[in-house]
Amino acid sequence: MKKYLAVTLGILTAIGGFVDIGDLVTNAQVGARFGMSLGWVVVVGVLGICVFAEMSGRVAAVSGRATFDLVRERLGPRVGLLNLGGSMAVTFLTFVAEIGGVAVSLQLLTSVNELLVVPFVAALVWLVLWRARFSHLENVVGILGLALVVFSVALWQLSPDWTELGRQMATADKPVSEAWTTYAYYGVALFGAAMTPYEVFYFSSGGVEEGWSVKDLRLMRLNVLIGFPLGGLLSLSIAGCAALVLQPAGISVDGLGQVGLPVAVALGKVGIAVAVLGFVAATFGAACETGLSVGYSVAQYFGWQWGKFVRPREAMAFHVLVLASTVVAAGVLLTTVDPIMVTEISVVFSAVALPLTYFPILVVANDPDYLGEHVNGRLANALGNAYLVLLTVASLAAIPLMVITRMGQ
């Protein structure tokens, strides 16, 4: 019974923790402009994150070390530094966006300006990262993040023509008024949002925090292969709601408030209350994950003691780094930069950093010195290599598309 509970809890937290500010904003923007014609990108992105999260989880469970703990050792300090620089910059940008997302979500309910809320949100994030147990942190925010299921309920309640939505997705049928370059730009952004680098940092480091071993491989795979795709369905629901309500009204999404409007249309006050709870939980949870990931990546590269499974005193440098990045993130937001703009930039730069993050995972997951008999099989390698090609194409196309389309205008 206890085992089934653990499996269920793992899957639920994987679903609830899947969506972050990047997914919320990008899926709603895409739904409002392109209907469901970019839904296939979410499917491709979710399959990709499953492939690489499974690899990095397996590395953590078998070797007892986080994937990026091994990158420097396996690929050398130069490649490790490149990997660290690219991935950490994007993770920090995402951290800024998530803290801003929490503040914007709270502003929707209280109308207190986000700038006044940011310092308190940052302080709370740091306090949780410093004091809360890893399992509590993961379970509480993951379960609360499930409130975003309200988008799936709202989509159902809006009674869409499912065949038409499916047709748009299957045929990539974009609106005639939109240029192919803009379509491609949003496709890359959506791909970057679905495969955000911090997700694997956090997943593999979290495995070490929770003391996974070979015995936990099955549970880890269930979490990844059931939880992540169901989380992907939430992303598609957000896009679907925007396609049904915002697109016909000619509304383009540039704030979190607009993302929730379809839920109000479908479900009224209760629906919007649950949606805002989901926004707060999803962004707060992701702020904790990205904050920890910044600390994890740097500490693992330099070989410092890290994580919440040791006392803060024993991982002093790790905790100081987390504190410093929280202060800097709050400082960036207090310059009055728009958190939604930071989100848009972070998902595009996520796409740029994708090969830097995922190539080392593929290398380490093929190394028998670390994984013994648990190295990648044929299927994992075939999918991993195919995705590496796709990630490289998306990475190379991201900046030119951003310039050509003037950030998707």
Binding site: G250, I251, D254, G255, G257, Q258, L261, A264, V276
Partner: protein, 149 residues
């Protein structure tokens, strides 16, 4: 010689900086048209947002200050979009179109302000008429945009 070249370079830079700071940029007619279409589209989208907010408020479907926050953000975003266009110097030969576009954008931003005021005051009696005016103005913005294409 080097000092003289350095001073000339500084003078040119100062001149360029001064020119850039004091005179609004004048885009080419094609660039201005693209910017006008974009501004009209953005502002029409913000009008759509506020129309939807008013409709949900009429049906009592929004919670707490949600409607006011979304409407205020729409008003601010529309103002920024309109200003990004109107702050540019319209190229010669586009002055009449500029007048039409900037007039419509002004009307839209004023209407958005009016809607926000009504939402803050919870003046529900005005919601229906505001929604009708917003819909009409959206159609007008679409027509102007169509003529510019």
């Amino acid at each position: 010689m080097n000092r003289c070249r350095g001073a000339s370079l500084l003078a040119v830079l100062a001149l360029l900086l001064g020119t850039a700071c004091s005179v609004p940029s004048e885009p080419s007619p094609a660039d201005w048209r693209a910017a006008a279409i974009q501004a009209l589209e953005d502002v029409a989208g913000q009008l759509g947002t506020v129309e939807l907010v008013l409709a949900q408020e009429q049906d009592d479907k929004l919670l707490g200050r949600y409607a006011v926050v979304v409407a205020s953000e729409a008003e601010e975003a529309a103002g920024t979009s309109a200003e990004s266009l109107t702050s540019q110097q319209p190229p010669a030969g586009t002055r009449q179109r500029f007048g039409t576009v900037s007039g419509a954008l002004d009307e839209a931003t004023s209407l958005l302000t009016e809607a926000r005021v009504a939402l803050v005051d919870d003046d529900r009696a005005k919601y229906s008429s505001l929604r009708r005016r917003i819909t009409r103005l959206q159609q007008r913005l679409d027509e102007i945009r169509g003529r510019l294409r």
